[in-house]
């Protein structure tokens, strides 16, 4: 049993980092990630953690310093949002190829322009092809536990890949919720210490890291990276079972809510899944058979498991909090991919909602369910929830 604390998603992230007690944290503040950095800086200032904190001059340098520290042999972490992620993109892209198990919090915020500090998923969806493990969190509790989980999955020898833990900017990062924090000793036993196996600072084992790799070898490097990504599923299950022994919870690739007999299911990431559950409860009370599938592990994407979970659902609506301009929205595209192999494919509808932090209400979710149940769908065109005009 843990202790329940009233904290925000940002504090939940910092709390996980406190327990992980990384050797190095390098970060640059950006709204809405700033409270993570500030909270963690307080831990450093009070000697609560042993971390060497590098308050760098940009996000590009934040990720560069974290890569330097991890290559050196440290366990290093960072956190960012939106423009910060965009600025560090180059180094974020290089990290999986170096096989560095860096864990970073991403507090999801709109990418400019127009500039806007509020939540949508246009930051993370711009780099889901790079090779980071992507984990999404509905609330502060999940932020906390997913951060602990991510460390072990990323650092597993079968994986050795970086992981990003996503939470919705402001909606999750700045809202106070009760969060169950488990005792330091159990959590620290679970996270353990990072192996120094490939440390650059192990000067007796001289290594050259990050060499020039030409057409004769690069392809093989990338194939090995994909192999490591494919191992994430089994490692995630194993590590999730270990964490579950402490928390009493389960760590599935996705959560299903009222899907067993559902005639229509909504698929949505992060905090809007909570809103959807509330809408489902209202509609179920009126006899409407509706349900939810909330992806948690987004990279690698569990296509087969999602297909299995939704194989009997006749109508599926996918809600994306970002657009892919000129193409299927990112989550919708994954669902179409996952369900394509079914003999009897469901009717599908893509919806865009909540860009730039626009609220989404239970009434709007109910409207989506009604539309899905009505059968008046157009799978070739996305629809917009709460759009003016």
């Amino acid at each position: 049993m843990g202790v329940r604390k009233a904290i925000t998603g940002a504090q939940a992230s910092a709390e996980a980092m406190r327990q992980i007690n990384p050797d190095v944290v390098a970060a640059y503040p950006i709204t809405p990630q700033t409270p993570i950095v500030e909270e963690f800086a307080k831990y450093v200032a009070d000697g609560v953690v042993d971390t060497e904190m590098v308050a760098v001059e940009s996000e590009h340098s934040a990720m560069s310093a974290v890569v330097g520290a991890e290559t050196a042999g440290a366990r290093a972490m960072s956190a960012t949002s939106s423009q910060g992620l965009a600025l560090m993109w180059e180094v974020v892209a290089a990290t999986p190829g170096l096989r560095l198990p860096i864990v970073m919090s991403l507090v999801n915020r709109t990418i400019s322009a127009p500039i806007n500090i509020h939540c949508d998923h246009s930051d993370v969806m711009g780099l889901t092809t790079l090779g980071w493990i992507q984990i999404f969190s509905e609330n502060a509790q999940e932020v906390y536990e997913n951060t602990l989980l991510a460390i072990r999955v990323a650092e597993d020898n079968r994986v050795q890949l970086p992981a990003m833990v996503n939470q919705d900017g402001f909606i999750t990062s700045h809202a106070v919720e009760p969060v169950e924090i488990f005792d330091d000793a159990s959590v620290q036993r679970f996270v353990g210490a990072r192996s120094l196996d490939r440390a650059l600072l192990d000067v007796k084992q001289v290594r050259s890291v990050g060499p020039l790799v030409l057409p004769d070898y690069l392809f093989e490097f990338k194939r090995a990276q994909e192999e490591a990504m494919s191992k994430v599923f089994e490692v995630y299950r194993e590590v999730g079972a270990e964490l579950g022994a402490i928390t009493g919870r389960q760590y599935p690739f996705f959560e299903t809510y009222q899907t067993e007999d559902a005639e229509a299911v909504i698929v949505v990431l992060n905090s809007a899944a909570g809103t959807t559950k509330a809408a489902i409860d209202i509609m179920r009370a009126h006899g409407k058979k509706v349900g939810l599938l909330k992806p948690i592990l987004f990279r690698p994407f569990p296509y087969a498991e999602v297909r299995e979970a939704l194989k009997n659902v006749p109508v599926i609506g996918v809600l994306d909090r970002s657009m892919a301009f000129g193409a299927c929205a990112p989550l919708y595209a994954e669902l179409r991919n996952a369900l394509w192999a079914l003999d009897k494919r469901p009717a599908m509808q893509s919806y865009i909602y909540g860009l730039g932090g626009r609220d989404i209400m239970t009434t709007e979710i109910e409207g989506v369910f009604e539309e899905l149940l009505s059968g008046k769908l157009d799978s070739e065109h996305q629809r917009y929830i709460g759009l003016r005009g």
Partner: protein
């Protein structure tokens, strides 16, 4: 201070940290610079290398010239990566996970230092990480075929500011990286050159032993893109000093000391001639460019002497 023979043994003996077999251009001075600097450390050296000539020619997978821990990430962040390595070093030492003492060396060309890596360098110097930053300055983006940089001298012909009917090459003077680094009030900054092995070695040693960040700016005559005979690299390095084009000086705890004061400075033409990048300056219509260049060099030198004489600290 070791003798030249002893330095030679350190750079070519059994404990060598940078081995032969790399793919540098014939006559390139980078190898000599790096070997000398690495030899000046009495501790193992952990190197972080910005993208550029040195990185490309020494680590073509599966080969490496580095017999010392080495890493490369991208172009503009060697100093930030070094910040992270230093932070890791402090943390892992403190927790007892590692025991060996090391020196940390970041290396970049002028592109990765004066230009794209400038912010990262400034940030790392301001945060006072204990590391040395070595820039081998070949005065343009030579790895990609001679595009101008913030270190390219006035009047030089480059592929991005070429000589043309209305252009005599680069119309701006270059940045003074040594003074910019010194303005961060770091313990040690020095300008040195490839031909002056003793000066280079001594300064590298001071940089490694400094109580905080150190910056070493080394001129690296580029046989390929300055386009001179590969046998003349050290000759051009020497001429750069003898013409006061590249003074050898250091700023130690803010105090400026000029290491070499040519008694009879040679005219700048001595340095310019034979280099393809300056060939156009010898046409009559460009005579004014050389005059202007000479004046700038003399003014800069007079200014440097004044700073040294004044004893005013950076």
């Amino acid at each position: 201070m070791p003798t030249l023979q002893e330095i030679a043994w350190k750079t070519d003996g059994p404990d060598i940290r940078f081995v032969s077999g790399h793919r540098m251009c014939s006559g390139c001075g980078i190898g000599a610079i790096v070997k000398t600097v690495l030899a000046a450390s009495d501790k193992p050296v952990v190197v972080v290398n910005a993208t550029g000539c040195l990185e490309v020619v020494t680590t073509t997978y599966p080969f490496t010239s580095w017999n010392t821990p080495w890493m490369h990430l991208t172009f503009e962040n060697a100093a930030s990566v070094a910040s992270g390595i230093e932070a890791a070093y402090k943390a892992l030492k403190r927790s007892g996970k590692i025991t060996d003492d090391v020196n940390i060396l970041a290396i970049g060309g002028d592109g990765g230092t004066y230009d794209i890596g400038f912010q990262a360098l400034s940030g790392a110097l301001e945060r006072r990480h204990k590391f040395m930053y070595l820039v081998y300055d070949n005065e343009a983006y030579m790895n990609t075929g001679d595009q101008r940089s913030g270190a390219t001298p006035f009047g030089a012909n480059t592929t991005t500011v070429p000589v043309g009917k209305v252009s005599f090459g680069k119309p701006q003077w270059r940045k003074n990286l040594v003074e910019i680094a010194a303005a961060h009030r770091i313990p040690y900054v020095a300008q040195t050159a490839a031909h002056s092995i003793m000066d280079l070695y001594k300064k590298a040693q001071k940089g490694f032993n400094a109580d905080g960040p150190a910056v070493l700016a080394v001129l690296q005559p580029c046989t390929t893109n300055w386009a001179f005979d590969p046998s003349l690299t050290m000759q051009y390095s020497k001429l750069a000093v003898e013409t006061n084009f590249w003074p050898l000086y250091e700023v130690e705890n803010g105090v400026v000391h000029i290491n070499v004061k040519p008694s009879n400075r040679k005219p700048i033409e001595e340095f310019l001639k034979g280099q393809t990048r300056f060939r156009h300056l010898f046409k009559p219509e460009n005579a004014h460019v050389i005059v202007e260049m000479q004046k700038m060099i003399d003014d800069e030198w007079a200014r440097l002497l004044k700073i040294e004489e004044s004893g005013i600290q950076f």
